[in-house]
């Protein structure tokens, strides 16, 4: 091997190691500059200083890398082992070890956006913590006395909530806590608005809070995907309904909220009862109330009837009253019968009267007969020998009377037939 060593060197220059590494670093930095490197994160270690140390590797090689604290803080997502990333940085040398080191300034996840990844990471973390547990979800009040609203004072979401709630239950006041709903720092305003609404004095307290925002890009919705807002919702003492974005947008706020509504309008509908339904319910209640009251009165009346009957069985006064009632009924029945009888009697009388009429002596007299009385004795003369010459007689004709005197009497060949049987004393 010594054959290959130069026998003579023009001049020996001996470097310190530091000088060597400084030279290498200068070469690297000069010739390569800032560059993008793709690889998988491994051996990630977070130093107490806040700097992140890790390796970037692929199938055949790896390189040490560092992400300083200031840069790490700006990242929306977190680095983790196994993550495929594209890192922007400079090649350098770590003198203490003589290692090649990538000074990373910025990292992007490969195959998806940083915000998407941040969302997934936060979601997974909070889920592990149990913040999305169904057991944490509180029921909404059926009839809130006052509803809090966290949203922009100028958004379409506010108009939607006002319109829907006004249609459903205008009697319930709506209290707006206006905030920005997008841009840096908006998440802190949202969290503060939630806290303010939750800490109102007793008479003004809200018993449900809507956190809403219209649709937008993932960047626009970012405040609702932050841990700050998630914690504020989870820690809110009154139930929270979220209605962020459109139907397809799912935010961290949605996951933590007690109820997730797909849109601001639906959130309003969830918090405010529908008065059309309540009108029906009240009307049905009133009908039930009246029906039940009627039945109570009917039952009471029936009981009263039973009781007075029972009373009549034991109390003489009542018994007399009952008797009288019975008598009155009898009397009425009697009267009815009597009238019927009288009717029959009258028609019978009429028939009898007709027959009597045919038997009337006047009718006989009218046919030419006469009745003769002794004017002195007033006895009816039936036989000639009852009279003597000189007797005065009265003769009753069909019409009128005669006064007559007997001249003589004659014995009859045959006795006169009695044509009438009138009472002797008549």
């Amino acid at each position: 091997m010594t054959d290959f060593l130069p026998r003579t060197l023009p001049e020996r220059r001996i470097f310190t190691i530091a000088e060597l590494l400084a030279g290498v670093r200068a070469l690297l930095e000069e010739s390569m500059g800032r560059l993008w490197v793709a690889g998988e994160v491994s051996n990630l270690r977070r130093a107490s200083s806040g700097h992140l140390y890790f390796s970037l590797k692929d199938d055949t090689a790896q390189v040490r890398a560092v992400l300083f604290r200031a840069d790490a803080r700006r990242m929306p997502f977190e680095l983790e082992d196994g993550l495929e990333v594209i890192a922007l940085g400079e090649c350098s040398v770590y003198e203490a070890r003589g290692d090649l080191q990538l000074l990373v300034r910025h990292v992007e996840p490969r195959g998806r956006g940083a915000l998407q990844l941040a969302f997934e990471q936060l979601r997974a973390r909070l889920e592990r913590e149990g913040l999305f547990d169904p057991s944490r979800k509180r029921p909404l009040p059926a009839f809130p006395r006052r509803v809090g609203l966290v949203t922009s004072a100028s958004g379409a979401a506010l108009r939607d909530v006002i319109e829907v709630s006004g249609r459903r239950f205008p009697a319930t006041p709506l209290l707006l806590a206006p905030t920005r709903v997008q841009g840096d720092g908006a998440e802190h305003e949202i969290a503060a608005a939630l806290a303010a609404l939750a800490s109102l004095p007793r008479g003004h307290a809200v018993d449900v809070i809507l956190v809403v925002r219209g649709g937008g890009s993932l960047e626009d919705l970012q405040p609702f995907n932050t841990e700050v807002v998630a914690r504020a919702i989870a820690g809110c003492p009154v139930p929270v309904v979220s209605g962020v974005g459109h139907e397809t947008d799912l935010s961290i706020a949605d996951l933590v909220a007690d109820l997730r509504a797909p849109t601001p309008s639906v959130a309003a509908a969830a918090a405010f009862p529908d008065r059309a339904v309540l009108r029906d319910r009240c009307a049905r209640d009133l009908v039930r109330l009246c029906t039940a009251a009627e039945r109570v009165v009917e039952r009471a009346a029936a009981r009263l009837g039973q009781r007075s009957e029972a009373l009549a069985r034991v109390a003489p006064v009542a018994r007399v009253a009952a008797q009288r009632v019975r008598l009155e009924a009898l009397a009425r029945a009697l009267e009815r019968t009597a009238r019927r009888h009288a009717e029959r009697a009258r028609s019978q009388l009429a028939a009898v009267a007709g027959r009597l009429d045919s038997l009337s002596p006047l009718a006989v007299l009218a046919r030419g007969y006469a009745i003769v009385w002794n004017a002195n004795t007033r006895a009816i003369v039936r036989r000639a020998d009852e009279c003597a010459p000189g007797d005065r007689l009265r003769v009753r004709l069909g019409e009128g009377e005669l006064a007559a005197t007997v001249e003589n009497t004659r014995e009859p060949a045959r006795p006169w037939r009695r044509v009438l049987s009138l009472p002797e004393n008549r």
């Binding site: 004072a153 100028s154 707006l176 008065r275 209640d285």
Partner: protein, 91 residues
């Protein structure tokens, strides 16, 4: 009415301050008590009158037309609710 009778549980007459939910709950409690039919006649009639009043109270609240929208404004260290003029035009 004596204590322990079902009618003793019927709450006092409603006032304007009575929240809708309380009024509706009371109304439906009265309806159920009447439907059960174990109230004395006098108590039942009193409950009925109260039920009618509660029903009217509920109906009145349902027909409230005026909207109350307020906005939370910072005042000193805390917040106060002020009437809200309406959404701003800009979005």
């Amino acid at each position: 009415m004596d204590e322990g009778s079902p009618s003793a549980k019927i709450p006092p007459a409603p006032t304007d301050e009575l929240p809708f939910e309380t009024a509706l709950t009371r109304l439906e409690g009265i309806v159920q008590a009447l439907e059960k039919g174990d109230l004395e006649l006098e108590a039942a009639l009193a409950a009925f009158e109260q039920g009618v009043a509660l029903s009217r109270h509920c109906a009145a609240q349902l027909e409230v037309a005026e909207r109350r929208i307020e906005v939370l404004v910072r005042e000193g260290a805390g917040f106060v609710a002020r009437p809200f003029a309406g959404p701003e035009d800009t979005d």
